[in-house]
């Protein structure tokens, strides 16, 4: 029976496949989900069209996508042209033009634009919503998506220019759903799972992410910036969305008071009743849990010790790295006086080398309506829009004009927390008003005491 079915499938495939794809076929084997198999099932589904969809872009778009990808595997080069200027009326982002450089061979993907659909914070979905998305994209696009793109959006991969407005109209009118950002805009902000399902979250990442996304829709849709700008929201210093590495402004949850300790649970970890690190190391025998070796000695500030069978923490010396809490989540909890730190300027290497986010605001409360946070954001944008060069990320502007300038424009006082260490050169750009008597002096007065 199974054999018969396989045979039938093979026959169908021979009949169905528009382009032979011998190299891509080799990516169908192996255990990891094969994108090639998935593309093939979509190509076949479109060809058979069991639901009688009146496809608004070529029915063989996915066949041609496989074909052009196979050609890239043969050539070792992409066959997509540089983007074109396409979009929806009034927006400067959310759509990326894409054209194939072999349109005669692959007419189904000759025009194959990307649309970015703003994802809900936390990436929770109902199946009703996802099915609406699928129905829309089946009708008006290739049926191929990214769940999700690198920045966080739902990506619609491949449609024609006349469909862009139609998709946008349906999204906004029927799905209560907007496009995301692209180009020199605020990019679609993204967050970690946060308080929705994580006990480490120091603030409501989803609420802050959603709130700021709505607040700054204009910046997200209409390019007014020197370059891209990203917000990312991590609920704790574990940084699951990597905000510290890739967001122009990263919002990382933290706390000011003491780590909460359940001494009974500490004993349960020591006694081996609860597995360390939530059972994350279950695949190997690492020997019995050793609190000294695994927690106390690994503490980067050495602010923990055992005393009379109890775990003690000198919280003033703690830098909140999360290691002890990660290892003993049932014994240790984040503090109660929670908020977030703001770090700025992270980016990938292009152009001037990679930058990690630099600490700007050590602690700020994260409570609706988030006015204090918005003040920092808007002061930074005013400066960057005024001074930033074309395609200069915030981190590069900070490097060019100095961290002091950033403090000046945001009105934030310098504190030792801002630096890893103080400067090793004395080349300080003193300001005239900082120097007693100012800089204007009389040469004749000077010469009275110092002959030429």
């Amino acid at each position: 029976m199974v054999g018969q079915r396989l045979k039938l499938n093979e026959m169908e495939e021979i009949k169905m496949a528009k382009h032979p794809t011998p190299m891509l076929d080799e990516l169908e084997s192996g255990p990891w989900p094969s994108f090639v198999s998935d593309l093939k099932q979509e190509a076949e589904k479109r060809a058979k069209n069991p639901d009688n969809v009146d496809f608004q872009i070529p029915v063989d778009a996915v066949d041609d996508l496989l074909g052009v990808l196979e050609l890239s595997y043969k050539h070792g080069r992409t066959h997509w042209k540089h983007g074109g200027i396409v979009g929806v009326f009034g927006y400067g982002g959310g759509v990326i033009g894409r054209y194939c450089d072999q349109p005669a061979l692959f007419p189904g993907v000759a025009h194959f634009h990307t649309m970015r659909v703003a994802q809900p914070a936390g990436k929770f979905y109902t199946t009703d919503y996802l099915r609406q998305i699928c129905d829309l994209w089946d009708l008006r696009g290739s049926g191929i998506t990214n769940m999700h793109g690198s920045t966080g959006d739902i990506i619609f991969l491949g449609t024609t220019t006349p469909q862009l407005e139609e998709v946008f109209f349906e999204l906004t009118h029927n799905l209560n759903q907007d496009l995301g950002g692209s180009g020199s805009n605020l990019r679609t902000p993204a967050d970690c799972i946060g308080k929705a399902r994580c006990e480490y979250a120091c603030y409501d990442t989803q609420d802050l992410c959603h709130h700021l996304t709505l607040e700054y829709q204009d910046e997200l849709h209409r390019p007014a910036f020197p370059y891209k700008f990203k917000f990312k929201f991590d609920g704790c210093p574990n940084c699951c969305v990597a905000s510290i590495a890739r967001a122009d402004m990263s919002f990382i949850g933290t706390w000011k008071d003491d780590i909460r300790i359940d001494q009974e649970a500490v004993q349960a970890y020591i006694g081996g009743e609860i597995p360390s690190n939530g059972g994350a190391h279950s695949g190997r025998d690492w020997g019995p849990f050793d609190i000294q070796k695994e927690v106390i000695d690994l503490c980067p500030t050495k602010c923990m010790w055992m005393e009379d069978g109890k775990l003690k923490i000198d919280n003033r010396e703690c830098t909140r790295c999360m290691h002890c809490i990660n290892v003993m989540p049932r014994a240790l909890r984040i503090g109660k006086d929670t908020g977030l730190s703001i770090l700025v300027g992270a980016k990938a290497p292009i152009l001037d080398g990679a930058q990690m986010g630099s600490l700007l605001v050590p602690f700020i409360k994260a409570e609706d309506p988030y006015d204090e946070i918005k003040e920092v954001i808007e002061a930074i944008w005013d400066w960057w829009m005024e001074e930033g060069k074309n395609r200069e990320r915030l981190g590069e502007l900070i490097k060019r004009q100095g961290f002091q300038k950033l403090l000046e424009v945001t009105g934030i006082d310098p504190v030792p927390q801002h630096v890893q260490e103080p400067r090793t050169n004395p080349y300080i750009f003193w300001k005239e008003e900082e120097v007693e008597g100012g800089w204007q002096r009389d040469i004749n007065e000077f010469r009275k005491h110092h002959l030429r």
Binding site: E26, E28, G30, P31, W32, P33, V36, D38, K40, S72, Y73, H75, R77, T78, W80, H82, G83, F89, F112, P120, A121, K123, Y125, T126, Y129, L130, R131, I133, I144, M147, H148, L157, E165, F168, T172, H173, L175, T188, I193, K195, A196, R197, C198, D207, C209, N238, C239, P275, N277, G278, A280, S282, G283, E294, C321, P329, R330, L351, A354, R391
Partner: protein, 382 residues
């Protein structure tokens, strides 16, 4: 195919136009157990690789089954995900930052049927549709970029290199035997849409040939000053060029020895393509992290300057990655990330243990930060 109007009137684009409404609100999509216990979670535990329980103050529990997925996904596949979520999870699900799919149930007895269902589903080609794993001290899904499927600047494919790598690392997607979690990321050019520069292992597509100059079209297609300004090493200058037919055109000249192959000029000017079969390939970077745990966040370091594109399965690349992973797994202490391990044993030892050749390409010579990566001490290992 007949054009079906959505209701949009191209003659009156502003009529009934709705804009700036943003994404759907997150809490419309919370399953009840999440909505009821948000902000009140006490602790979590991995019951087995890929399966977690989170326990709330109320005593409520949510069990999560995490599955890997290709982020390139058809609507047919998404509908299958919906079918599973309807059958087992009351119509709710979520995706993770690393392209995993999470199915959540509110009681323990619902796990086993869900797990069996997920494990039983395979593509016609034989691969799993929903492999369970990606948690704890293992190797989670790879975040990646578009590659040859949809991008104009890639130096390699993304979906293919990821599939080949995850096939090789698959056992560790479903295990917890690593010293700490290992984050693998992939970006198909150094624009790094995937921001792979802080990953335990980063796969990066890279060009090695300067742009080809399409002089005849360059001035027609591009804003020459923008192309010149785009170059981070000031290698591009304006030039008058005489075409073979005798016409003189405005174009650019590239000081090729200054080119670091970033492709930024091509981003600004389509008449300067870099892609090349022999020139393009893979850079491997290791030892980065984004978490602040124990040690500070770190950038990944280049440990293999170039591996050719070997379609369709990139065997040299996957063998090298496997070797690095196994060497790390054998040598690192519990909780030690790959970069922390390399720093503890010393990078000279890292190259020895991983049997990687050290070449001049791996010594930084790009601007001021380079100096800080040279060894300014007499302490080193033989």
């Amino acid at each position: 195919m007949a054009f079906i109007s959505s209701g949009y009137n191209p003659d009156k684009p502003m009529e009934n136009r709705i804009t700036d409404i943003g994404p759907r609100k997150y809490d419309e999509f919370y399953p009840p157990v999440i909505a009821n216990n948000k902000g009140k979670w006490l602790y979590h535990e991995y019951l087995q690789p890929g399966i977690m329980v989170h326990v709330a103050e109320s005593g409520d529990e949510v069990y999560t089954v995490r599955c890997g997925g290709a982020r390139l996904m058809s609507v047919t596949h998404i509908r299958e995900i919906c079918e599973i979520a309807d059958k087992h999870c009351d119509g709710y699900l979520r995706f993770t930052t690393r392209n995993n799919i999470e199915f959540m149930v509110d009681s323990k007895d619902k796990i086993e049927p869900l797990k069996k269902d997920l494990e039983s589903r395979k593509f016609d080609g034989g691969s799993f549709k929903f492999p369970i794993g990606g948690t704890g001290a293992g190797i989670s899904n790879i975040v990646h970029t578009q590659g040859w499927i949809h991008c104009h600047t890639p130096a390699t494919d993304a979906s293919g290199t990821v599939k080949a790598t995850m096939d090789v690392l698959f056992e560790d997607f479903q295990q917890h035997r690593m010293p700490a979690h290992v984050r693998v990321s992939m970006a198909c050019c150094l624009n790094m849409c995937g921001a792979v520069h802080c990953s335990d292992i980063a796969i990066l597509g890279y060009h090695r040939k300067p742009p080809i100059l399409d002089h005849e079209y360059l001035d027609k297609m591009c804003e020459i000053p923008l192309a010149i300004a785009a170059c981070p090493t000031a290698a591009i200058k304006p030039a008058k060029i005489e075409l073979p037919n005798g016409t003189k055109v405005n174009s650019v000249a590239v000081n090729e020895s200054r080119c670091m192959f970033c492709g930024n000029c091509y981003t600004m000017c389509p008449s300067m393509p870099l892609a090349d079969t022999e020139g393009d390939g893979i850079v491997l970077m290791v030892g980065g992290k984004v978490s602040n745990r124990v040690s500070n966040p770190k950038f990944s370091k280049v440990v293999v300057a170039f591996i050719p594109n070997e379609m369709p399965r990139w065997p040299t690349m996957t063998d090298t990655i496997k070797k690095i992973v196994e060497t790390y797994a054998a040598g690192a202490n519990k909780y030690e990330r790959l970069g922390e391990w390399a720093e503890r044993i010393g990078w000279e030892r890292f190259f020895e243990k991983c049997e990687l050749e050290f070449t001049h390409h791996l010594i930084d010579d790009f601007r001021d930060p380079a100096y800080y990566t040279w060894r300014q001490t007499s302490n080193f290992k033989f």
